[in-house]
């Protein structure tokens, strides 16, 4: 099983083809994002992924228009999905997602990367929520928009380095054409000033840590942070 992790595939068109390529590129864990009503399809994705040695993680992406809407949605979804990503269109939503422990990842549209500034970086440093950079956001845009996005990304990575924040880079692929090699993704983020180790961690250690933490919480034996049921009365293991 590969050591790399891609935390964002957007409802892949041809799952077996996508998983085959991911496995070839060295991925061992992949998160598939589906709308809430299609949550049943995760079973099929997990089965197909298993055939190629890929551990599939269930993910949902929220695009709330206000902080209130985000908090309302998070309540019902936390126990149903292993990962929750929030696409933040405004500063209020971004701050609410960073303050609330239930969101795992915050994504910013390339035109709004500048929403992440000193205050948000400080919030992120005291939170479990991690900033995610989606590579597909930088594909196919006009020269002007990509240049602007790169310029803002420079600022974001500067803050990430200054505050020592973990970062996740994902492909955001919808089909085989969007799937990228993990070292290509780490090379991309390294251009903005991260070291080799930090850049590789964005596609391996950092995303894996989030999934393991969440899976631990979703486990039946989990009671609270640091408290776990080891054995139940009838001899049944926790």
């Amino acid at each position: 099983m590969g050591r790399f992790v891609d935390l964002y595939l957007e409802e892949p068109e041809n799952p077996s083809e996508v998983f085959r390529l991911l496995s070839l590129l060295g991925y061992g864990m992949v998160a598939v994002s589906l709308p809430e009503k299609l949550a049943e399809k995760f079973k099929d994705y997990k089965k197909t992924g298993g055939e190629f040695g890929i551990d599939v993680v269930s993910r949902i992406n929220l695009t709330p228009s206000s902080a209130g809407e985000l908090l309302q949605k998070l309540g019902g979804l936390r126990k149903r999905f292993e990962l929750i990503g929030v696409l933040c269109g405004s500063k209020q939503v971004l701050r609410a997602a960073l303050r609330d422990g239930r969101a795992d990842l915050v994504l910013l549209p390339p035109s709004k990367l500048n929403l992440f500034d000193d205050f948000e970086a400080e919030l992120a440093s005291n939170s479990n929520t991690i900033l995610e950079i989606c590579f597909s956001h930088f594909l196919g845009g006009s020269e002007k928009t990509v240049t602007k996005a790169f310029s803002m990304l420079y600022g974001v990575i500067g803050l990430v380095k200054r505050f020592g924040l973990p970062l996740v880079v994902s492909s955001g692929a919808k089909n085989v054409y969007g799937v990228k090699a993990p070292r290509d993704l780490s090379a991309f983020i390294r251009l903005f000033g991260l070291t080799v180790e930090e850049a590789l961690a964005t596609v391996s250690k950092n995303p894996k840590k989030i999934v393991e933490r969440n899976r631990g919480k979703l486990d039946k034996s989990f009671v609270g942070v640091g408290v776990r049921v080891l054995c139940r009365k009838g001899g049944e293991d926790g």
């Binding site: 390529l21 590129l25 590579f135 930088f138 594909l139 196919g140 020269e143 085989v176 054409y177 969007g178 799937v179 990228k180 090699a181 070292r183 290509d184 993704l185 090379a187 991309f188 390294r190 251009l191």
Partner: protein
């Protein structure tokens, strides 16, 4: 003493529904790098298009070892060639071309 220029060879694959011509691929790779890093970057990177197999959709590039990552990124950011959707990804990087040629023969 001036440090010797070290090369890196990159074996890459182009995923596309149709077969692409060697010239189209060469043009797309150079243009993508130029768009990102300009002529000065291209000169520094010493990017060289060595080979492209139109049947296997696999090719080899050479560049300065200092510019390996920018070349990887410019490949990854190539999303269209001749108006067709493509995915260009790095298969392997090596300091010698021989090992990549051997690997290229093994790949289907």
């Amino acid at each position: 003493m001036v440090k010797r220029f070290r090369k890196r060879y990159i074996l890459y694959r182009v995923l596309c529904e149709n077969s692409l011509g060697k010239d189209s691929v060469r043009r797309a790779i150079y243009n993508s790098f130029l768009k990102l890093f300009g002529f000065f970057g291209l000169a520094q990177a010493k990017l060289r298009f060595i080979d492209y197999d139109e049947n296997k959709n696999i090719g080899i590039l050479a560049c300065s070892h200092r510019f390996l990552e920018p070349v990887r990124v410019s490949l990854a950011l190539t999303s269209q060639i001749d108006g067709k959707k493509v995915n260009v990804y790095t298969v392997r990087v090596s300091g010698t071309i021989k090992s990549l040629r051997e690997l290229k023969l093994k790949l289907d």
